[in-house]
Symmetry: C2
Subunit: 230 residues, 2 copies
């Protein structure tokens, strides 16, 4: 650490780090080493080390004891990796017959191995899509990000009609559970009853009645039908 060389943006570790910072940055001003360690499943000292090297590479702005934030370059790189990840996920579902719960882990590897040429071919073949199979927005090549006004299913008021917009989990088990319950992107949804004390929700999915635990519901975001929310 006397001499420390800057990180290069083309390694798997660095790319995953960039994604992690980007994601956590949405929720917090500066991203702590512990938060990153947790998300990346590596030790905190490893994060500190990486933070140093990525600072030298001008990918993050890092202040000792005060976490990390992406620089402009860092954010551009992060979005590039996220774009790859999500395009690959979508491709796996639409062209290779993957189930929703199978795509994340595969994309987590492929995003680092694939060339720009490959990504361009996918984007072309999928007709430049804007949403991945989880309902997450795919950043455009220029980093543009088509925003959406969503709310969590847990916060949807009773009796208001909405559509399932996003299944926000990378855990295959959770996703499979949600699929089993009948949650699919775009399905019509409405909360019929809400049990107290974090109890289950009784809902209508495309007319069919179902019950979901409130923890599972956490992973579902919805878009309210034609302007009622807020």
């Amino acid at each position: 650490m006397v001499t420390m060389r800057p990180a290069t943006a083309d390694s798997q570790s660095v790319q995953d780090f960039l994604k992690a910072v980007y994601t956590l940055q949405q929720k917090m001003e500066r991203v702590s080493t512990n938060a990153l360690a947790e998300m990346l499943s590596i030790s905190a000292p490893s994060v500190t080390d990486m933070a140093h090297r990525m600072m030298l590479a001008e990918l993050v702005n890092y202040e000792k004891y005060h976490g990390v934030r992406l620089t402009e370059t860092g954010e551009r790189e992060a979005l590039r990796v996220i774009r790859r990840h999500r395009l690959i996920e979508l491709y796996l579902v639409t062209d290779l017959g993957y189930a929703l719960h199978e795509v994340h882990d595969e994309a987590e590897q492929l995003e680092h191995a694939v060339s720009d040429r490959f990504i361009a071919a996918l984007a072309e073949k999928l007709d430049h899509p804007t949403l991945d199979p989880h309902g997450d927005v795919i950043p455009a090549i220029d980093g543009t990000f088509h925003y959406r006004e969503l709310c969590k299913l847990t916060e949807l008021p009773l009796g208001i009609k909405a559509k399932v917009a996003c299944l926000t989990s990378n855990d295959p088990d959770i996703l499979r559970h949600l699929m089993d319950k009948g949650f699919t992107l775009g399905s019509q949804i409405e909360i019929i009853a809400r049990d107290p004390f974090d109890g289950p929700l009784t809902i209508l999915i495309d007319g069919k009645s179902a019950v979901v635990g409130c923890t599972a519901a956490t992973y579902i975001s919805v878009e309210q039908d034609k302007g009622a929310c807020k």
Copy 2:
């Protein structure tokens, strides 16, 4: 090197090493460290080191100063990687619009990143093909290898009709040159004239006349029409 840990078959380096040994083994009884260093573009000492570790992993049989040979496990692993590589190449051409000269480098990376699930999906989608876009045989899942009796274009007798069966190069420039000349897998071919002193060949490709340098011709293998060869 006092303590040396065995290599694990799931690293990129090890997988590429296995492929290299497999390929060179076809031509020579035992594969020298120098030959491997050359093919893998790494130094000879690096090869020696890897040979040691792969011996511990029982992937190769290595004798000091006498090169390396794949064990049964090693050969199985090598064929697995080659299968991946070739299925990916074929997929890139048939489904993603890649040109022949673009596929090798992409596959060289993807072969290590992709899951068994992914390869199964490709094989399914391509209807369990046996030849990659260069004309190389794709090993079956069980390691089975459908052999073919080919001869080099340079050795094809004058006036004998044959079909282009394999374009044996990974160099994009060479492949592009061959494509430009009109060589495509399956095209009908016949040598009209052969210049002496390693001079160019005058040939007929699907009826059209062309001239190829003899070095370029080296990369072309043909299959003679209905039993005339040998």
